[in-house]
Amino acid sequence: MIPYVNEYDTPNCNTLAETAKKSIRTPESLGLDRCIQCGACTASCPAARFSDYSPRQIVKKVLENDHSVLESKMIWSCFYCYSCNVRCPRNNSPVTIVQVLRQMAINEGIGVEKLAYFLEIGEYLAENGASKVPETGIRNMEKDLGERWIGIKRNLGSTRSEMGLSSRDFRNTNGEVQAILESTGYFEREKWIKIKIEEKRIHGFVKTNYSDKDKKNGEFGFESDRKYTGQEAITV
């Protein structure tokens, strides 16, 4: 268990539903108990359309207090696009519930390897007052976007100057951001996550490539519907 307890995102409660409702990640008016399993969230969900994912099912598991949901790969597929949030007729918010579930998983060391990529954002923010795409991301982008983008990035300073901006997006936070991150426990948590990732690496649990190739193509094909032959017609 994480030494720095993520008590505001994942308050310690008896059930997953209570934790989700009390968490500061979810809206105060969260209509979790009002969910009628209508599936409007899943119908609007890009992750459901293009991968094996269902916000409706995740909400169901939370309501059933089924902790296996924390181990499910599913919770890591959400785009945080909030389509489910705007469409839910019962004021529920699967997207913010998923955020709580990911935090709970992290507390237990589940899925932490997925954070490896992004962890430097914290230190960079503390130091510079701004965020940036992490180094691995930049290398991937260089590979994908090629010469044109590499050139754009190389000339960014002079381009900004020509446009009348400072050559770098400079922030003067007087060390306050650094101090805040220290006091909220961010760095302790980051350290703990790094140790967990390292442990997993040693034990060979970390794959370097997470991407799943066999995704759906986005056409609305309902597998189970195709198998269902329909009711026999009543003939008189």
């Binding site: 500061i24 959400c78 785009f79 935090q103 922030r171 101090a179 805040i180 961010y186 991407s211």
Partner: protein, 314 residues
């Protein structure tokens, strides 16, 4: 719903966005160019930090850190006398607005954040309940443009008639705090209305109009294939609708469409005819701004020269 009449044009803190600064600085300069010409009273303050958005939505920051960083930025805005936080990035908008709501309604979090500030000797950062109003102190730059749409129409210097333009409204603008959107969150028309004032022909509706851009924070990096599938679906639909100009309002959507359009073309063997820009860049162009010195099109991945020549700007 936010009423257009309630959108301020005074005391706006133009909230710097790291992704704008690092990828599309022209979005900031174009917005400033337009604001200057519309007579909007705003300031930019280097003391303002990133809102934590990227880290928050890649799950590395917890809510307390995000709330504390937000409270600090609110203090920066209040201290310089420009408390109306106006964002270039939809995620900054949503993160700040939500953090404000949290700080106003959750005494435990507020006390915790303030105790951190006091312990560090940052007494001027302390946040008292109601210091900011989550409904009236937070805006997206596109709302300000919309509120001045009449002036934008009058300041028009080019003829964009017949330009088929489609909009992509950022989900973190209209799907997070959906009760505070100008117009209906099921069919936001802010960008379309502004584009029309500049003389373009907005497409208004196309298939999958409300689909996310596909970036999905960690998704682009961890599940790139799915991420690009989503982006492709939207680009396909725009191509079918004969769109030549896609307008956005968020640097992250902008990266996903502009930077990754050539990647999708290569990886999926498709070809698209549209170019991309932020709505503020389009308004600036329409007012006669320089496409490079003000709009910064040299930092775009999909070249805009063809479009600029066709419309007589180059």
């Amino acid at each position: 719903m936010k009423a257009i009449e309630s959108i301020p044009d005074r005391k706006l803190l133009l909230f710097k966005s790291c992704m704008v600064g690092q990828e599309y600085p022209g979005v900031e300069t174009a917005t400033r160019y337009v604001f200057d010409r519309l007579g909007i009273d705003y300031c930019v303050n280097d003391e303002q930090s990133c809102c934590t958005g990227i880290g928050h939505y890649t799950d590395i920051f917890e809510g307390l850190t995000t709330a504390a960083i937000a409270a600090r930025n609110f203090a920066v805005a209040r201290k310089c006398g420009y408390p109306n936080i106006t964002c270039l990035c939809s995620t900054c908008y949503a993160v700040n607005k939500e953090a404000c709501e949290l700080l106003n309604t959750n005494a435990e979090v507020r006390d915790k954040v303030n105790s951190i500030f006091k312990e560090k000797g940052f007494d001027d950062l302390v946040y008292e309940k109601g210091d900011m109003d989550s409904r009236t102190n937070f805006y997206h730059a596109v709302e300000i443009l919309l509120s001045k749409v009449g002036q934008i129409k009058e300041a028009k210097k080019f003829d964009f008639s017949g330009v088929k333009a489609a909009s992509h409204h950022a989900c973190h603008y209209y799907k997070v705090k959906y009760l505070d959107v100008v117009g209906s969150p099921e069919n936001p028309q802010l960008i379309d209305t502004i584009a029309e004032a500049c003389g373009a022909s907005p497409v208004r509706w196309y298939e999958d109009r409300t689909l996310t851009c596909g970036m999905g924070f960690s998704q682009l990096h961890l599940n790139k294939n799915t991420s690009l599938q989503v982006t492709k679906t939207k680009l396909d639909s725009l191509q079918r609708a004969g769109v030549e100009l896609m307008l956005h309002m968020c640097p992250n959507c902008h990266i996903q469409y502009d930077r990754y359009q050539p990647v999708i073309e290569k990886e999926f063997g498709v070809k698209y005819d549209m170019v991309h820009m932020n709505i503020a860049q389009f308004v600036a162009l329409s007012m006669g701004a320089d496409p490079y010195k003000v709009c910064g099109f040299q930092t775009h991945s999909v070249p805009l020269e063809g479009f600029l020549e066709k419309t007589g700007i180059l």
